[in-house]
Symmetry: C2
Subunit: 187 residues, 2 copies
Amino acid sequence: MARKKQYNEAEVIEKAMRLFWRNGYESTSVRMLEKEMGINQFSIYASFKNKEGVFLESIKLYNAKIKSITNILENSTNGVEGIKDYFLDFLDFSREGAIFKGCLVTNTVNEIKEDTNPVIMAALKRFSLNIRKLFVRNLKQDDQRDVKEIEAQADYLMNALLGLSISSKVFSEEELKGIINITFLHL
Amino acid sequence: MARKKQYNEAEVIEKAMRLFWRNGYESTSVRMLEKEMGINQFSIYASFKNKEGVFLESIKLYNAKIKSITNILENSTNGVEGIKDYFLDFLDFSREGAIFKGCLVTNTVNEIKEDTNPVIMAALKRFSLNIRKLFVRNLKQDDQRDVKEIEAQADYLMNALLGLSISSKVFSEEELKGIINITFLHL
DNA sequence: ACAATAACTAAGCGGTTGCTTAGATTTAAC
DNA sequence: GTTAAATCTAAGCAACCGCTTAGTTATTGT
């Protein structure tokens, strides 16, 4: 009936995701996406509706990629140690060669404003809350402490993880591992 | 000989700084600065050369403002407790009514890229390193531990502080204070 | 072979970006 | 009062933004 697509949507989203990861949402232009994805703007809008659509698909892919390490956390029975492993795994996950790119989600939370990008912000918050939930689950494995205390610890760990996303752009790998060690020293 | 300026440079930078603090560097346009500062674009460029110049002056002012709490840290003899006070003071400092704006410096570190804004990035790094130096100084007050260990602790605290700048936009004041408590629990 | 349909290319839309220029206006020295 | 210099306003520059449209090309069923 009609012509075939000359590109694979999953493949071009992979490239878009990497670009967003490096540059953030706002400072990644559709022209840049065009070049990186290797397809015309028309095709981008035809496949993903708009720039926001490309980003939402990128988040989905990011979520699928990071599953490789969240799955370990999800199935862990090591309590806090399992969370520490997640931190170290994340460091590896966020690395591209020698440089650390931080977390795509955290980077974007920092960049965008809730009132101008409500849909994106909602997706990002969903992502973060899910990780916090896993932290709570693992913390409960160690002993039966007060739920309030456990949730405060989960907040503490989220804070450290958010910090790590920024720190990874400033500190060296050795320093980052030192930070992780101290973060879990007395938990 | 010539006409007088109809505005005070210190006054308009105060307004510019607040705008950058709320919106970040890139997403604050010169048109927005124009309105907020209450002067024409020509005057902005005449006084501060370019947008980067306005921001660098804003950083200077921010530095002067935050001196009110870094001075306390600088003169503290309470060791780690002095740093904890700094964290709590910072929370207050970064508040505008009920909402937390985070740290102007941290917000911007997250937003800009080193290769496109090297001058700004350098100013931001200088600012951060200075705070880390104060952390090291205070940590040395408590006991004579290994210097390496102290520096690792300073990195850990910087990571927590960076995290706090993001967390303050997501968590409540109560949760933030809980995070700070746990951060200093076993130091 | 031909018509129908979807995917392609490339030009261009109105709006915004950081920054500059032209020209009127105010100040102050003489 | 005249002149020179600094400051003001407002229009406008090229480049870019997200997105669309017009027109061409490829693939299919009949």
